[in-house]
Symmetry: C3
Subunit: 461 residues, 3 copies
Amino acid sequence: MADPSTNMRLRLGILCIILEVILIILFGTLVEYNEDTDAKHWNENGKHNESQYDNEFYFRYPSFQDVHVMIFVGFGFLMTFLQRYGFSSVGFNFLIAAFSLQWATLMQGFVHGLHHGKIQVGVTSMINADFCTGSVLISFGAVLGKTSPVQLLVMSIFEVTLFAVNEHILIGILKINDAGGSMTIHTFGAYFGLMVTRVLYRPNLDKSKHRNSSVYHSDLFAMIGTIYLWMFWPSFNSAITNYGDPQHRTAMNTYYSLASCTLATFAFSALVSPEGKLDMVHIQNAALAGGVAVGTAGEMMLTPFGSMIVGFLAGTISVLGYKYLTPVLEEKLKIQDTCGIHNLHGMPGVLGAVVGAVTAALASKDVYGDGLHRVFGASQSEGWTPASHGGRQGISLAVTMGMALIGGLITGFILKIPIYGAPPDTHCFEDTLYWEVPGEEEDQYVLAEVSTRNEVEKLNG
Amino acid sequence: MADPSTNMRLRLGILCIILEVILIILFGTLVEYNEDTDAKHWNENGKHNESQYDNEFYFRYPSFQDVHVMIFVGFGFLMTFLQRYGFSSVGFNFLIAAFSLQWATLMQGFVHGLHHGKIQVGVTSMINADFCTGSVLISFGAVLGKTSPVQLLVMSIFEVTLFAVNEHILIGILKINDAGGSMTIHTFGAYFGLMVTRVLYRPNLDKSKHRNSSVYHSDLFAMIGTIYLWMFWPSFNSAITNYGDPQHRTAMNTYYSLASCTLATFAFSALVSPEGKLDMVHIQNAALAGGVAVGTAGEMMLTPFGSMIVGFLAGTISVLGYKYLTPVLEEKLKIQDTCGIHNLHGMPGVLGAVVGAVTAALASKDVYGDGLHRVFGASQSEGWTPASHGGRQGISLAVTMGMALIGGLITGFILKIPIYGAPPDTHCFEDTLYWEVPGEEEDQYVLAEVSTRNEVEKLNG
Amino acid sequence: MADPSTNMRLRLGILCIILEVILIILFGTLVEYNEDTDAKHWNENGKHNESQYDNEFYFRYPSFQDVHVMIFVGFGFLMTFLQRYGFSSVGFNFLIAAFSLQWATLMQGFVHGLHHGKIQVGVTSMINADFCTGSVLISFGAVLGKTSPVQLLVMSIFEVTLFAVNEHILIGILKINDAGGSMTIHTFGAYFGLMVTRVLYRPNLDKSKHRNSSVYHSDLFAMIGTIYLWMFWPSFNSAITNYGDPQHRTAMNTYYSLASCTLATFAFSALVSPEGKLDMVHIQNAALAGGVAVGTAGEMMLTPFGSMIVGFLAGTISVLGYKYLTPVLEEKLKIQDTCGIHNLHGMPGVLGAVVGAVTAALASKDVYGDGLHRVFGASQSEGWTPASHGGRQGISLAVTMGMALIGGLITGFILKIPIYGAPPDTHCFEDTLYWEVPGEEEDQYVLAEVSTRNEVEKLNG
């Protein structure tokens, strides 16, 4: 199976080296430690002699590690559900995440504004880079099994760049709230990926249909991904909120939203099954929609009550999407969405954006007290009213959708150029194309057993 | 296999929706943010302007996340050891945990006392809710493979309620120490579950005997659960202790107890095997007993030395329990304990309660100094003597046993009503009853190989 | 397969009990709580009444937990890649880690100096004990599959002791920097293990060759280990650095080094394959070399730029080592290195030591400002110059190599005594020797299917 058309030797080898060399040069030129990571600045005038606790490291690093687990274990294992694509799911996830987080550091630093010509880095930039990477991995879910690692790296280059631009428009210019990224991460990543997979439409994908499904153990590996995403989502949504009550509140709102979402997921997974059996696809994915849907409003005074309602709705639309919408998207709109990211990130992301806009519009000094400006910080300085802020939240959703769809369209066409070693229609969802895959010892055992048995039977007559 | 008697469509679908709607209504009526999660209260008078570090979030949230991992990954994967019950183990664990943590927030808040008619929530209530959930999951271990998800949810409703009552009697009224829950969580969960499984006794369970065991890979999945429980147990026991030295000390005592327990487990697993081979069941379970057994005394001045002795004893009785007691319990007392929770949570929980009572009775100003009231806080206010405190610790164990056994008895009979779609004796420990289970691709590969081989042999022969 | 020569009943059972009893006695005699874990000392004079945040627990415990995950899940699962050695990989890892961390607490405390005749313990000693354990687990990787658990425990006894001595020479006497242990942990563990496996050379190991490889699912389990090691390495390298900017900077440098290393790993894994296919062995191991290689310099002002260069080099030499050097080591030098620790820990460790020496030699007040003494603390007090510090860093590498090689040599000969129940050449890399291994249900399913099919064919034929 050493097909030259999918041989990765030079394609992937050279591309990775070129990309990393460019990254290293740009980091050497542009990146410097920020105040909290630089030995000189942090210790200037002995200002932290009494306590080192002001260092943002202690406020952010535990959240960062949880986010990091979501990016590498969560996304990576969630996609191992395919029966013969586990190496690629975890492995390519690893590759494009390792690339994207470096590229994102540069793009986000560059777009959001340099400090005296330099990009300053610290734990917050690490979290933001991981966030941007998350968006790329969402898009990866749509094209899973149908793309070469080279295509995925090229997609990452463009998606990270556009992510940074879109994020800057929302956070830097429109000054809206989206700490958990319902819009910037989930909506953007989902519609970008859906557009890419639309452009890469394969009419003959059913030639690989028998591999586009799970086996028993691959579903259990995928559950590792699901559970880690579910558990650490409170950290994801709260990782870059303001310190104190906003961070605390965001984590808790997300916790309740997810719990409620999980019950909705089990409920509707049973209800949509004529045999009354639960579907692993729903549990693995829809139960997470509650985290997506409070990505914007989570830091606001949404209340546990509100969070649970949002989570319930998110789980419901997500299961219904998997059951009824995904087949339609594939048949009518020719969108082949391997992981169903439209149901997990797309619709719940839009729901989250709407919930965020409404919750922001309803904010009041009465409810937030002096905490108002700590949640809606940027807005205060500009003579903010809740209604206008809510409006700008809505505009942000539209901007994000536009950026994602146009960006995905262009990127899709770039990925369609037949030079990247994409898999043929007959070998999608198959690790052996890009990986040395070991034989199955179990099979050999069984075959040995079987032939022994056959011989015994022959002897017996 | 779409048997109407076990069809979950309406049973589970409707029940989940009803439960979640009730939860949402009660949360809307009763629950509000506490001081540390409310924007208005936290920022009142600018009292935290200088540092946000006082927020309990920074003291508790990392521990919470570790506990969360234990609940969802630890318990969930520990139970995947069964060969054809992995979906149910992780999946039902996920469902009943997501339900229980919401229900526990309400029950614990309600029983422990409302603030102006409201339940106030924050990271500490999240940890407590997870703790209560842990107790339910312990009971789940006893009935694993023999119950429908509907039964499990009904069990959770009752067990959470009784847990909250028992916990309030111990912590709120008797004012004893049990930060890691040797009594409230482990003893309660174990004896509650054992009583439930006793009432649900199935005389013909051996019809499913061939499925009530592990296969190679399922044992590896279970080890994921074991290792996560083992690693994060120091966080579990220290999650809600007082800040500073008690939290630090508890984590360390637990660390040493578990290390010692692990050596005892390997020792006795080898010693009780005539062939001198280690048994995965022991390693997966008994190595954790050291965490259970310092759940009460861990925050006290138990010393690493004392912790290691306790851990060693816990591992020893747990392995011996698996080897010699479990078969007796099943044959003589008709207690079918799938996971052996009596050995992992029952006996070590009782040991932990006794160790806690003795350690409390031996406490002195000489050893604890001004830290005495920070460990035995509630007691101080009531003219505490060590001996009386030790006595009350003992009484608490008796109360817990009583509550668990009576509660389990009643709940067992409620679960026995034949309306919940329980599995028939012939289909216990089997995922296909409640889940869409994918085929095994490996089998197809092998079958194809075998028939090819047979054809070749025919041609040759 | 109950061969008396490998029967572990008395050998392992008695050894574990003796070791744990000795540990308990020594802990009872020598170990006491430190200032931050002792109730009396911590609360003396009410000095922490205002804030409990000074407790080192809050600075170190999250890092400790990440390190703990690396030791038990990271190392444990990384070694499950072998097809029939998963129980032993995770299980023996668990056993020797649980032993080593207790023994290391004693040895490190003893060698580094007693306080009034006592070893004081707290979260920092827990991290240091885990670090020492990591070194033992690295050596375990070299002899994986070829040793009995008794041999592994005996190896741990010696290796932990020598580790503590070497660490004390470096940190206590030469006063050099090695917070992430490029030298003390990785170089030491690697060359110690390589020497042990050299002495234990088996000329007839090819009798077990068919088991010395992976299968599809075992590679996925191994990826769990890889990814956890990769994600938490920033916590590993920063766990015991000084508070504030050094801890923050170390984590970030490691993050960038690993990301860069990952791209180098994918690049060279593709480039060295004639078929242009990626090799799981490289991805599982070489992608981690970037963490090893900044273990010394990570806390210094290495800059992200420098870290990425180091990571790139580490990934490159590691892949090339797996491809070209490992076969040579086995053939020419008779070093059978199961996991290829020379490529993951040996060479990158040496690289890390060299990078550390150079970075230290280049340190200046100009770059570090008042932070200089906080990174190179011990040296300041002794009239430090960068060049001399760099020199001492270099000497430390030589000392470490010497200690490792001589220690490994002696330990190897001790392990060669034929009393430990080592596996015969025909049964290396095989769990059934030391574990009760369950049958494979899938096989039974398939066999049943096959015989049915055969019968049908007979009827038809």
